[in-house]
C-alpha cells in the first residue's frame, strides 16, 4: 500500500530524525512510503489564531498533495486532529472541497493509530545498537487523545519494545500547557501548567517521557532543562518504537 507521509512543519525543522523513524516503522510494516516534497504545514497555527482564510489555503494544498494515497500517516496527533476534525469547518460553504475531503479523511491516520489499527504491526524493527532501554511514562497529547482517540495504540506498541517498561504517571491525559501560540502569549500560565506535568513525570520515576506531538515535546523538554533536569529524556513515540534512540 502507498502511504503518504505528512512530516509536519515542526518535525521538519526541529526534529527531522523523527520523520526518519516514522519512515522506518512504516516500511517495516510493508508500506511503500512517499514523502511529497511540496508539503509544508496543515494550517493549524492559522486556524487556531482565527485566520481561517490562510488555514483554508493550506488545507486545500494538503488535499492536492495527499488525496491520491491509499493512506496518509502523520506522526502528530494535533496535525492529524486538524485534518480529520477541523477541515470540515474550514471548508464549510465549499462543497467541492468538502467532497474531496470526505474521500480522503477516513484514510488519514496518526502514526501509532495507523500502526496499531490499520497494519496491525506485530514486530517492531530491530533496535540500533545502544538504543534506549529503561522506564518510560507516556504523556497523552490533547488532540491525539481527545480528537482522534489515540490512547491505547501507542501503549500497545510500546509494550512490544523489549527493555522498555511503561510506568504510568498521574494525570497523563492532562494538557502540558503548550497550546500553540498560547505558550508564548500566556507564557506564565503555560509554565505553571507544564510545571505540574514535569512534577508528575518526576513522580513516576521514569527515565524518559514519551509522547506523540512535537509541541508538547518542546514544551516539556524546555521546562525540564530550564529547571535543571538534564537527565529525563523526552522522546517521540516513533523514536522509541523504531529503536532509533
Amino acid at each position: 500500500m502507498r502511504v503518504g507521509l505528512f512530516v509536519t512543519c515542526l518535525i521538519d525543522v526541529m526534529r527531522p530524525e523523527i520523520g526518519f523513524s516514522a519512515i522506518k516503522l512504516l516500511e517495516s510494516a510493508g508500506c511503500e512510503v512517499v514523502v511529497p516534497a511540496s508539503q509544508t504545514c496543515c494550517g493549524q497555527p492559522a486556524y487556531s489564531g482565527g485566520n481561517k482564510a490562510a488555514a483554508r489555503e493550506l488545507a486545500e494544498k494538503f488535499l492536492d498533495e495527499f488525496e491520491s494515497f491509499d493512506y496518509v500517516v502523520i506522526p502528530s496527533g494535533s496535525c492529524g486532529g486538524t485534518i480529520k476534525t477541523h477541515y470540515d469547518d474550514l471548508f464549510a460553504g465549499h462543497p467541492r472541497l468538502l467532497e474531496r475531503l470526505a474521500k480522503v479523511k477516513s484514510r488519514v491516520y496518526e502514526l501509532t493509530d495507523f500502526l496499531a489499527s490499520v497494519v496491525n504491526l506485530q514486530t517492531l524493527p530491530p533496535p540500533t545498537a545502544g538504543s534506549f532501554k529503561g522506564t518510560i511514562t507516556y504523556h497523552d497529547s490533547c488532540s491525539g487523545l481527545r480528537e482522534l482517540g489515540v490512547q491505547k495504540q501507542p501503549r500497545e506498541l510500546l509494550a512490544k519494545r523489549a527493555g522498555v517498561e511503561l510506568k504510568e504517571m498521574d494525570e497523563a491525559r492532562v494538557c502540558c500547557g503548550f497550546g500553540g501560540t498560547f505558550a508564548v502569549k500566556y507564557g506564565d500560565i503555560s509554565t505553571a501548567i507544564v510545571d505540574d506535568k514535569c512534577a508528575n513525570i518526576h513522580a513516576s520515576g521514569a527515565d524518559a517521557v514519551v509522547l506523540g506531538d512535537l509541541g508538547c515535546m518542546l514544551n516539556i523538554e524546555g521546562r525540564l532543562r530550564r529547571t535543571g533536569d538534564t537527565k529525563t529524556r523526552v522522546l517521540h513515540v516513533a523514536q522509541v518504537l523504531s529503536g532509533d534512540v
Binding site: 512530516v7 512543519c9 518535525i11 521538519d12 525543522v13 526541529m14 526534529r15 527531522p16 520523520g19 526518519f20 514523502v35 516534497a37 508539503q39 509544508t40 504545514c41 497555527p45 492559522a46 486556524y47 487556531s48 489564531g49 482565527g50 485566520n51 481561517k52 490562510a54 489555503e57 493550506l58 494544498k61 469547518d89 490533547c142 488532540s143 481527545r146 492532562v174 494538557c175 500547557g177 503548550f178 497550546g179 500553540g180 501560540t181 498560547f182 505558550a183 508564548v184 502569549k185 500566556y186 507564557g187 506564565d188 500560565i189 509554565t191 505553571a192 501548567i193 507544564v194 505540574d196 515535546m217 518542546l218 514544551n219 523538554e221 524546555g222 521546562r223 532543562r225 530550564r226 523526552v234
Partner: protein, 470 residues
C-alpha cells in the same frame, strides 16, 4: 459586576504569584475532578444520558419563545407573576420595584449568578434595602466587602479555611474558630435572625419548567427553602430566559447530570421545585411569587454560531477540568462567568472588544468539551471568537504581519524550503553546545521560563533529499 476583563493578563499574573491561592486551587481541582469521575460511573450509561440531556436542552432552546410562553401561562395560572427584562439593569429595576411595592426592607438571597450580572445587591442597597446573601460561600464574600465570586457553583473556592476564620473573627467580633463545623454553625447563628426578619426572598433558578410553571432550585445548604418558605411574603426568582425546560421529565434527565458534573454528588443535599405562591389551603410559601426572566444578551446568541452555549446548565465542570482555570482561578477572567464557558459567554454579553484575552487564554486542550454534560463544543466556540477578533481587526498589528508572512511562505514550497533551511541553521547556532536556546527575541513568553530545545541544523526535507539521492 464591574467588567474587568481587560486586565486578564495582569490579574492572572498576580494569581500565579499568590502561593496561598495556588495551594488552594490545587486542592480543589483534584477533588472536583476525582469526585465527578466517580459519580458518573453510577449511571448505567453516562454517554446516553449526556446525549439525552443535550437533546432536551437543544429542544428547549430551539423553540425558546414557545416554551417561555407556555411557562408564563402555567406560572400565571398558578398565581405567579412573570416579568421579562431585556437588560441586566432593567432586571435589577424590576426587582427593586417589586421590593418597593411590597414595602420590603430586607431581602434574603440564595445563590444566583444572574443576580451578579444584574449587580442586584448594589441596586437594592442604593434604595435602602438590605440584601443578605445566605449561601455560605456568598455570605463569606458579602461580608468581605462584597468580593465577587470566583466560581459559579463554589463561589469562595479561592479562600482557604484560615482566611475565612480570620474574616469571621473580624466581622462577627467573636473568638476565632478553625473547626469547619463550628465555623458553619457560627454563620448559621448569624443568618438565622436574618431569615426571620426578611420580607422578601430572592433565589436564582437552575431551571424553570414550562409545563408546570415551576422553578427548580438546587442547593447544598437548604438556604433556598429558608429564603422562600420562612416569613418572606414575597419570593422573586431571577434567572436567564434560556433556563427553561419543557417538561418535568426533561428536568429529571438533566438533574441526573447536574450535581454529578458539578460537585460529583449523586444528588444535591437540597432540591426545591417551587410552583406558585402559597395557596389558601397550603401551610407555607410566599404570599407573592414573581419571576424576573433576564435576557441580557441571550437572544443575540439564538441563531448565531454560539447558540450551543445557551444550553449550558451551569454545572462548572468545564472550569473544574480546565488547566488554565486551575492555575489562575476565577477572578482573573474579570466578570461573572469564569473558565471556558465564561470565555465564550463574556464576549457575547459585555462585548468582544473588551474581552480580547479570553478566547485566546486557552490551550484548546478539549477537556472542557469532554466534561460538559450537555456537550457544548467549547473549544470550537473559543476558536470562532478568535476568528471574529481576527476578522474585525482586533488583534495586534504584529499578529497580522506575522500571519501574512507565514501564509506567504507556507504556500510557496520552494520559498518554504529555503526559509526553513535558514531557520534550522539559525536555531542550531542559537542553541550552542548545549543545544538549548535560552532566549528568543520574538518569543520571550516561551523563553522567560523555558528553554527551546535546538534542532540539529538540517531540515527533514534536506536530509531526505540527501538520502534518496545517494
Amino acid at each position: 459586576m464591574q467588567v474587568q476583563t481587560m486586565h486578564f493578563k495582569s490579574r492572572a499574573g498576580e494569581k500565579l504569584a499568590d502561593q496561598r491561592l495556588q495551594q488552594t486551587l490545587k486542592k480543589f481541582a483534584g477533588r472536583f475532578v476525582a469526585s465527578r469521575a466517580q459519580a458518573i460511573t453510577e449511571l448505567d450509561d453516562f454517554e446516553a444520558t449526556r446525549d439525552a440531556a443535550t437533546e432536551r436542552r437543544m429542544r428547549a432552546i430551539e423553540n425558546l419563545d414557545v416554551w417561555l410562553a407556555t411557562f408564563e401561562k402555567e406560572a400565571t395560572r398558578r398565581g405567579a407573576t412573570v416579568l421579562y427584562a431585556e437588560t441586566a439593569e432593567q432586571a435589577s429595576k424590576l426587582v427593586v420595584e417589586i421590593a418597593k411595592k411590597h414595602g420590603v426592607k430586607k431581602v434574603t438571597k440564595s445563590k444566583s449568578m444572574v443576580s451578579e450580572e444584574m449587580q442586584l445587591n448594589h441596586a437594592l442597597e442604593e434604595v435602602g434595602i438590605t440584601p443578605v446573601e445566605t449561601d455560605l460561600g456568598e455570605y463569606i464574600l458579602q461580608i468581605n466587602d462584597n468580593e465577587p465570586p470566583s466560581h459559579i457553583i463554589a463561589p469562595v473556592i479561592h479562600k482557604d479555611k484560615e482566611e475565612v476564620a480570620d474574616l469571621f473573627a473580624r466581622v462577627h467580633q467573636k473568638p476565632r474558630l478553625t473547626d469547619i463545623t463550628e465555623m458553619t454553625r457560627e454563620a448559621r447563628d448569624m443568618l438565622r435572625p436574618q431569615f426571620l426578619s426578611a420580607d422578601m426572598g430572592v433565589t436564582g433558578g437552575n431551571f424553570i419548567i414550562a409545563e408546570s410553571g415551576s422553578v427548580a432550585v438546587v442547593t447544598n445548604e437548604g438556604n433556598e427553602g429558608m429564603c422562600t418558605v420562612m416569613p418572606p411574603k414575597v419570593h422573586v426568582v431571577v434567572t436567564g430566559i434560556e433556563k427553561v425546560l419543557p417538561t418535568l421529565s426533561d428536568l429529571a434527565t438533566v438533574m441526573r447530570l447536574l450535581p454529578r458534573s458539578a460537585t460529583g454528588q449523586s444528588i444535591s443535599n437540597y432540591f426545591s421545585l417551587l410552583t406558585g405562591p402559597r395557596a389558601s389551603d397550603e401551610k407555607d410559601g410566599p404570599e407573592h411569587m414573581y419571576f424576573v426572566l433576564v435576557d441580557a444578551g441571550r437572544t443575540s446568541l439564538i441563531g448565531s454560531e454560539f447558540q450551543d452555549m445557551l444550553r449550558c446548565i451551569r454545572c462548572g465542570a468545564c472550569m473544574n477540568h480546565c488547566p488554565v482555570y486551575q492555575k489562575i482561578g476565577g477572578h482573573s477572567y474579570g466578570w461573572v462567568y469564569p473558565g471556558p464557558m465564561g470565555s465564550v459567554l463574556t464576549p457575547s454579553y459585555v462585548g468582544i472588544e473588551k474581552t480580547l484575552d479570553l478566547p485566546h487564554a486557552s490551550t484548546l486542550c478539549g477537556e472542557c468539551h469532554v466534561a460538559c454534560p450537555v456537550k457544548i463544543p467549547l473549544p470550537d466556540l473559543l476558536r470562532k471568537l478568535r476568528e471574529k477578533q481576527f476578522d474585525r481587526g482586533l488583534r495586534p498589528g504584529f499578529e497580522y504581519f506575522a500571519f501574512g508572512m507565514w501564509a506567504f511562505v507556507t504556500k510557496r514550497p520552494a520559498l518554504y524550503r529555503f526559509a526553513t533551511k535558514i531557520a534550522a541553521r539559525m536555531l542550531k547556532f542559537m542553541g550552542g553546545q548545549q543545544r538549548l536556546i535560552h532566549s528568543l527575541p520574538l518569543a520571550a513568553g516561551w523563553t522567560d521560563n523555558r528553554d527551546m530545545p535546538a534542532p540539529s541544523g538540517k531540515t527533514f526535507r534536506e536530509l531526505y533529499q540527501e538520502k534518496t539521492k545517494s
